[in-house]
Symmetry: C2
Subunit: 332 residues, 2 copies
Amino acid sequence: MATIYEVSKLAGVSLATVSRVINNTAQVREATRVKVEAAMQELGYRPNSVAQSLASNRSNSIGILVSELSGPFYGELLARIEEEFRTVGKHVIIAAGHSDAELERESIEFLRSRNCDALILHVESVSDNYLRGLADGGCDFVLINRYVRAIADRCITLDNRQGGYLATHHMLELGHRDIAYVSGPMWKNDAKERYAGHLEALAEFGVAENKTLFFEGDFQETGGVRGLQHLLGTDVPFSALVCANDEMASGAITAAHDIPLDLPQQLSVIGFDNVNFAHYTYPKLTTVDYPIAEIGQMAARWVLKNVYHQPVKELQDVFEPRVIERDSTQKI
Amino acid sequence: MATIYEVSKLAGVSLATVSRVINNTAQVREATRVKVEAAMQELGYRPNSVAQSLASNRSNSIGILVSELSGPFYGELLARIEEEFRTVGKHVIIAAGHSDAELERESIEFLRSRNCDALILHVESVSDNYLRGLADGGCDFVLINRYVRAIADRCITLDNRQGGYLATHHMLELGHRDIAYVSGPMWKNDAKERYAGHLEALAEFGVAENKTLFFEGDFQETGGVRGLQHLLGTDVPFSALVCANDEMASGAITAAHDIPLDLPQQLSVIGFDNVNFAHYTYPKLTTVDYPIAEIGQMAARWVLKNVYHQPVKELQDVFEPRVIERDSTQKI
DNA sequence: TTGTATGCGTTATCAC
DNA sequence: GTGATAACGCATACAA
């Protein structure tokens, strides 16, 4: 790779001048600019962004940390973030934290050491305190899908409690009263919140919680399968099933077909997230929309505004879920 | 962030010695190593990998370029690659090429300018010539899902033709003779190859190709929907539908339910890729397995071996597809 | 075993 | 406008 030095030699100017035309950072006489550009062209010069980064303490790259790289949820998030940055010449460095506290910390340190200008974090295991410390340490980052009071201005969240409320509320409005619930891992905040919303809806309709109709799954498909099987095994009747995410709902639907159970006649099922395979299920899954792509976009804009100081349209920090009614739920 | 210089001062040794204990690149007396480590600990020192990269011309990072960040296919690929590298302390920088030639080139240049030690490319639009030039230019990269003769030793592929053959062969063996085909964009190599395999199987069974039973889709769900609707509209009867990927198969299944058509009694459907939502469909989708995760793993190992010169288990460069029989196909 | 000195490719602060 | 020149944080020959 040609260096800036070779370009300067070929163009008969100094390093500094070449740097100026590259970065458009000062006035350069038109004639010399042309000379330099010709030289760059001829040598096929591309700036070495590592050196740029070291010298300028700016990398034009943003670190993204998500729990998983696979799965419909994170894929959409990443895609939107990348898109948003690509259009303004920034780039993303991606790492996975796998819901493991140490790995999350390590990945954050890695991204910082890569001189990322900012971080977009979707972390579940690291403590609030750690995040507060990060912020105090002068690290620019936004937090997705998590609320930490001390750094509320960098949190972009979905109202999970409200989502849980809406899901169960939907069932209640359809006339269901015996409602089973398959939760995510209760140590995860979103799982807890969604469940809280569920209870709130039940309370509002004066329905008592039946603890035997609760199953703690793993946010995976198998969790839904095991969940439905377990619930059916309790012999406590129920006409509706609320699942804390779409993967588990799909698992439950699959398990129901295997029984077989007629859906939605014998059992109404609702999911959460509205991931892109939700309409592959049969019947098509009614679910609660999680506007993950928009959240990603908003996170990107937060960075554009607060770190790169670019003018951006208004920022939104809390998103509201809503029920997407399809075919897996019906009146009792 | 503390620098190596501050560490050396605190530990009372030179820069070089600190560097040595960091990289374990030469013998250091135990006592001084301890001193240095204590100093690093105390300062919370983390090496600046940008500076490391500039100085050593090695970044311990691998650039990955895929067509899309979303979708089950690439997600699994990325996840496996990241995992494989993470365990050996390497990191990935990810970019999306969006099947656009210019964007692909740009992304490759970006990754190179980031001083990536190697690239793993899944590109569809850039020319063979360009890739050959890249290789000649001394860029270390592996090519996934594409075969370029001149650089055959860096290609890791699935035998798409064989996969297409197997899919249709499966239908033929079940007794189907009127077989419709929904293809991917024919400018894409894998779409072309899969279709070639389809024709080969037909020929083997002495079945003439019926061009009215061919539809060129877009590898997306909607392509499958439109495909089935179009094919049904031709009024040429068919009992089996071969789709060039699972997304389109899912779309076709959805469309079939809407008709409604009984699956698989009235129509057998087979997909291709075996993405993770294939068993969410109803009936569960019979498909051709594309071991994308293994291919990702192999690409990572190629890099480990050829670029980092680490000992790795044997490398495999061409993978064989196989039919995964589930519930969406049956004997006629 | 440890220290010194130089270079990696840029940016940025001075002068001119 | 333009050109020296000092950082940036680290690796690495070469000395000691």
